[in-house]
C-alpha cells in the first residue's frame, strides 16, 4: 500500500526541526531512517499531517565518544554504529545486539535514535540502552533535557517525549574495565521481532538483567553483584512472573516466562562465570 498524503519538510538543522515540530503541532512526525515509520505509513496505521525529515540533517548525523558515553545523533544510521571498528570495545552489548536487529538492508537506513523513539517493546536497541543505564537527549524549540532510559520508556510505543520534542541523541555508557555483558533473543525466524530478548550486564554496580518482548516496555531488574546459584535462579523466576506476560498470537504467557528463565539463565551465566 501507499501512504496517505502529507506535507513534507526537510530540516537542514536541528533548530529547524524543533521549530517545525512546534509550528505543525502534535500531528506532525519526525522522519529519520523511516524503517519503522514508513511501514506504518504504507499500511496506513498512521496518517500524520506532516513529516519533518531529519535524515539529511548533517548536525544530527554523528557518532562520537564524549564524557564516557558513546553518543549517537538522531540521523545516524544503525549501520554507521554497527560497522564502527571500535564498537566491540566501546559498547560490547550493542555490538552483540546489532546482528539480531532486523536485516542488513534495514540497518543500513534505520537509525539508532529512531528505534529508541519508536519504543517497540521487543526492539533490541531500547533494551541495550536500558540494560546499560543509558540516556536520551530531548530538545524542543526552547530547551534541552536528558532522561535516563528507564524514565523514557513508558509503555507500548509510548515514551516520555513531549509532542514538541525531538529525540536529539542517545548515549550508551562506555564499558568499564571488567564489565561483562551478554545479549540473546528468541524469534520465529532470524531478523523477525523477538518473542523474548534478554540482556545482562555485570560490573561494579552489580548485576543487571533487561527483558524485552514480554511486558509493554523493556523491563530492568538489578541484583547485588554476588548473587549466585539458587538465589539468582529464584530471583530470575520471581522477575519472570513480575513481567506479567500475556498470551498472544505469537506465544503463550507460559512460554514467554519459560524463555525469560532459560535465556535469562544463559546470559547471566555468561556474565557471572569466573572463567569465560
Amino acid at each position: 500500500m501507499k501512504p496517505a498524503a502529507f506535507d513534507y519538510v526537510r530540516a537542514e538543522t536541528a533548530d529547524e526541526a524543533v521549530q517545525q515540530l512546534r509550528a505543525l503541532g502534535a500531528d506532525a512526525r519526525i522522519l529519520a531512517g523511516g524503517q519503522s515509520l514508513m511501514a506504518v505509513l504504507n499500511m496506513r496505521l498512521a496518517q500524520p499531517s506532516a513529516l519533518i525529515d531529519i535524515s539529511r540533517t548533517a548536525e544530527l548525523d554523528h557518532v562520537r565518544v564524549e564524557r564516557g558515553m558513546l553518543t549517537v545523533g538522531a540521523a545516524a544510521t544503525q549501520s554507521s554504529v554497527e560497522w564502527r571498528a571500535t564498537l566491540a570495545d566501546e559498547v560490547p552489548l550493542l555490538a552483540q545486539a546489532f546482528p539480531l536487529i532486523s536485516h542488513f538492508q534495514i540497518r543500513n537506513r534505520g537509525t539508532v535514535c529512531g528505534s529508541v523513539a519508536h519504543a517497540d517493546p521487543s526492539a533490541e536497541i531500547p533494551l541495550v540502552l536500558l540494560a546499560l543505564g543509558g540516556e536520551v537527549v530531548l530538545r524542543n524549540a526552547s530547551k534541552r533535557r536528558t532522561l535516563a532510559a528507564i524514565d523514557f520508556f513508558q509503555g507500548m510505543l509510548m515514551t516520555a517525549r513531549a509532542p514538541d520534542e525531538l529525540l536529539e541523541a542517545v548515549r550508551f555508557p562506555i564499558a568499564t574495565a571488567g564489565q561483562r555483558s551478554a545479549f540473546i533473543e528468541f524469534s520465529a525466524r532470524h531478523g523477525d521481532f523477538a518473542i523474548v530478548s534478554v540482556a545482562a550486564v555485570a560490573d561494579a554496580r552489580g548485576l543487571r538483567l533487561a527483558v524485552g518482548g514480554v511486558a509493554d516496555r523493556p523491563r530492568l531488574v538489578q541484583w547485588p553483584a554476588g548473587l549466585r546459584g539458587a538465589d539468582l535462579e529464584g530471583a530470575l523466576n520471581d522477575f519472570a512472573w513480575e513481567l506479567e506476560a500475556q498470551d498472544d498470537a505469537h506465544a503463550s504467557a507460559t512460554f514467554r516466562r519459560h524463555l525469560v528463565r532459560r535465556l535469562g539463565a544463559q546470559v547471566l551465566a555468561r556474565v557471572t562465570e569466573t572463567t569465560p
Binding site: K2, V9, R10, E16, G34, M38, A39, N42, L51, F104
Partner: protein, 178 residues
Amino acid sequence: MKQIGRDSLHTVRLQLNGTARSAPCTPRMLLSDFLRDSLGATGTHVGCEHGVCGACTVQIDGVASRACMTLAVQVDGRDIATVEGLCEADGPMSDLQEALKRHHALQCGFCTAGILMSCDDYLRRRPDPSEAEVRDMLSGHLCRCTGYTPIVQAVLETAALRRAPTTAIPDAISTTED
C-alpha cells in the same frame, strides 16, 4: 529548509546509475514507484511495500536500502543505483550476475534485482564473508524459488574469485552458453 505541500509537485533530480534524471512527484510517492513509474526503471521490483521482502532493494549513495521505505523527495540530489546499472545493456554481465547464472540462483527472478543490489554493497564492505554472514545478509530477502543455497554459493564464489582471480572456475562451467 525545503517545504512541499501534500498536493504540490516537486521535481526530484537524482543520478540514476550515473545518469542525471528528474521527474515531478508529490511527497507521498515512494522511491520504488518513482523509479518504476516516473523514470521507467522497472528493473526494481515491488513486493510487500513494508520492508520485509527485499525485492525493491536499491542503493542510495552506494548503500543497499529498501526503495519502498524511502520517499522519492528524500533522495533529491543523491546517487541511486539499481539493477540496470550493474552492467551495460548489451555488454557482459557483472561477475556477480554471472555467478548467479552459473549456480542457477534464480528461477522466476522476482527477488533477484534486490538481492543483486544487496550483495553488490555487501561484498564491497565485506570482501571475505563466511557462509553464515552471507546467509545473515540474505535474510533480508525473500526468495520462494531457490531455497537460497545456490544464491549463497554464487555470492561466496564471487567473493573468492575477486580475492584470487587466478583461481579460475572450471572452463566447462564458465563458458557454458545457453
